[in-house]
Symmetry: C2
Subunit: 148 residues, 2 copies
Amino acid sequence: MRLTNFTDYTLRALIYLGLHQNEDRLVTIGDIATAYGISENHLMKIVHHLGKQGFIETTRGKGGGMKLALAPEQINLGDIVRGTEEDLAIVACFQKNGPPCPIESVCVLEGVLGRAMQAFFNEIDGHTLADLLKPRNKLLNAFQTKTA
Amino acid sequence: MRLTNFTDYTLRALIYLGLHQNEDRLVTIGDIATAYGISENHLMKIVHHLGKQGFIETTRGKGGGMKLALAPEQINLGDIVRGTEEDLAIVACFQKNGPPCPIESVCVLEGVLGRAMQAFFNEIDGHTLADLLKPRNKLLNAFQTKTA
């Protein structure tokens, strides 16, 4: 039971962007890739996704880069995860057009797992990016120690 | 975000076994495979796993097969899922020996996702196989309609 790497890296990218929001220069894909040691290729897809969803603004050209389009308090973690997880079908029978199960119409499990997923989202829906940025100085130090 | 097919099929196998527990003959892998239209090959691994975990008893030879080793009320769904999901690391930084993340030691996200996972399990820990068997007649009918 895992979130996709796409979700994981999206959340990490948002943390980095939130920490560097009010600096003189915009954040680049290279900055985030170096900070976490992850591939620029993956990050390009993530930046495209975050732009499309309205969470970040990007500027092309020299001095270009990206920044958050909303205040961290306005970026709900549940919304992020629902946007990045293509497959929220916890088991096959939750999939639209998935393989048929003979007991689907009378199965109790579907309700139990549905409520479990709801409980999972209730927890993350209670948080925004601002919560993730609270240990601001410690986070900045952790990145600096890594790149030092 | 999905449970593995291994978990899905394990839960389905247990439902079938629970419904056919007090019959004259033992349930075979072929019975379960036919009932759900899933592969015997997958089911063999599941039966091996359930036997090792003490949830079922198997008998070899002519007239052989399997049955639950415990009453359905004693088979907790959370225990089943923890037993079948090899990877409960919701994101990479939860993995032992996973790739290092520079902010791991100060990251708030780990706590949020940890509590979300706990909320997920709190829901399923509140249920046993007996709950899944409650619509007994409807379940038996659904299987009969399928194989009729």
